[in-house]
Symmetry: C2
Subunit: 312 residues, 2 copies
């Protein structure tokens, strides 16, 4: 037991990241049924689809699960209505101001977690009344902070700056990386990339298999003018790079992005034109496993690494 397992009433201090086009009810319920916190990623769901996934997730597990809500979601009020109507117990908000919705959720009895990437926003989130923080480092896949602070440096800074529990994210996929995050003072970890290519993830098999071949240096944090995003360096990224090289405008960048690039890459498996969001840690992920296998392996490798740690 620790602060996070008590707060969330889960067995292991492991959160499955809510990821667009990956974390539907199958992934979330599998994570929850195997001792972690399962999280539905609402970012890629229309409101009605989110409701459907909540209902199915409730049917598939009796354990706690959460919903991740990106605060820049266009129909955000509609999403919150659904969370309240469906009596969702844990909400993870990201990518926006935690002051906007935290009080409403807390008044409704929800447990609220907010994702941050620097000390300033961690303190802002704590002051707004959230119960815990996900601190996400520069190496994480998908949306990311502007300050480029790595997990190694971010976690000690945030642990020192706030009094609420801190969940480390970015670069965590194995027992050893989890042990490193806990060493830095985190109370739990959030695992993204590893679950993004798990058997229960709704990502396309072509995407999952492509991630297996990723090597160190194959991802990049780009689109800093819009919202910084980490993705694999595929042909779509080369187009972004060409636009940067000829000093294209922000409007050109928005036009190039168009709509549906992440769906195309992750859900439809278009490796050429899709936005293939994944973390740096993809370099050490070498197999597609079930959620049960992943969690068992993380727990058992954590124990082994802890036993074999250098001691002074």
């Amino acid at each position: 037991m620790n602060k996070v397992t008590e707060l969330l009433k889960i067995k292991y201090p492991i959160i499955q990241a809510g990821m667009v086009w990956c974390s539907g009810w199958r992934l979330a319920s599998a994570a929850s049924n195997n001792g972690a916190l399962g999280v539905l990623g609402a970012g890629s769901m229309y409101p009605d689809v989110l409701r459907e996934h909540i209902v199915k997730c409730k049917a598939a597990t009796n354990e706690p699960f959460a919903v991740n809500i990106p605060l820049f979601y266009p129909q955000i009020e509609k999403l919150f209505e659904i969370l309240f109507e469906e009596n969702v117990k844990i909400v993870i908000t990201s990518g926006g101001n935690p002051e906007l919705y935290t009080k409403r959720m807390k008044d409704a009895g929800m447990t609220v977690i907010h994702v941050v990437a620097n000390v300033k926003f961690a303190q802002k989130a704590e002051n707004s009344g959230v119960d815990a923080i996900v601190a996400e480092g520069f190496e994480a896949g998908g949306h990311n902070g502007r300050d480029e602070i790595t997990t190694m440096c971010l976690i000690p800074s945030i642990v020192k700056a706030v009094n609420i529990p801190v969940i480390a994210a970015g670069g965590i996929a194995t027992g050893r990386t989890m042990l490193a995050a806990m060493s830095l003072g985190a109370d739990a970890v959030q695992i993204g990339s590893r679950f993004a290519i798990s058997k229960e993830s709704s990502a396309h098999d072509i995407f999952k298999n492509h991630v297996l071949s990723a090597k160190d240096g194959d991802t990049v944090l780009t689109l800093k003018e819009l919202a910084p995003v980490r993705m694999l360096k595929n042909e779509f990224f080369q187009e972004i790079k060409s636009l940067y090289n000829r000093s294209g405008s922000k409007d050109e960048l928005i036009e190039l992005l168009g709509r549906g690039r992440i769906k195309k890459g992750i859900f439809e498996g278009d490796l050429v034109d899709g936005n293939l969001e994944i973390g740096q840690v993809s370099a050490i992920i070498n197999s597609i496993n079930s959620v049960a296998e992943i969690i068992n392996e993380v727990v058992s490798d954590y124990k082994k690494a802890q036993e074999n740690l250098f001691s002074f």
Copy 2:
């Protein structure tokens, strides 16, 4: 005892980074006398100055110490002559091709360590015959790799890819961060920023005190067109940024850099026009200590963090 303490015949698996304008004989001998490996940073020394520091370091300690040689140093042959003449036992090379000099050093009986920032160069270094590798993450201060791989992701990748000992660098300044690096599979750590502002560092007091005020997000990796470098975002960096914003040429960038910017910043304490190289971990460094104090604190905090680690 572990692989690195045996290889280098030192008490603790801690290497003091060889840093320009910081690591002369005072810092290196203090590190060696306190159980770590002290390292002279030859990058900022004329050949005669390096010889002087080697002689003084030998006089100040009976323990092993090393010299760090950036392989892009203009009078590199002259430096190697001095290393051979002064019978230096351990050499750390960085910023270049390890195949060029490793054999000569090994033939002379030296222990050779090479600094890398990705798997490809780690394997190249191993194949060239080096005894160990320093794997340096994106968060590290000063010269850095192009692939932006963080310590959290770099260490597991490199540990898996090579059979020689791996020394983790980047983001390590405390007992907790050292424990994290060892959790990732490193055999030792290299500590830079913390020693850069130690009492025995030859950096200017104005620089040391300025680093104390650094917060998360205050450093940036820039100058990627030349050689990527992490520095504090001072007025000099704002000039670099302006040049980038108006799409200045590489020649303009070289002219803006001029000569002696790092000396100006670190050694002369010019916070405005100097290049203030330091790591992201500066955000959690809050006091100027002696080398003895730093090493004692790292060892004792490592033990405490290890005892208090979450266990499944």
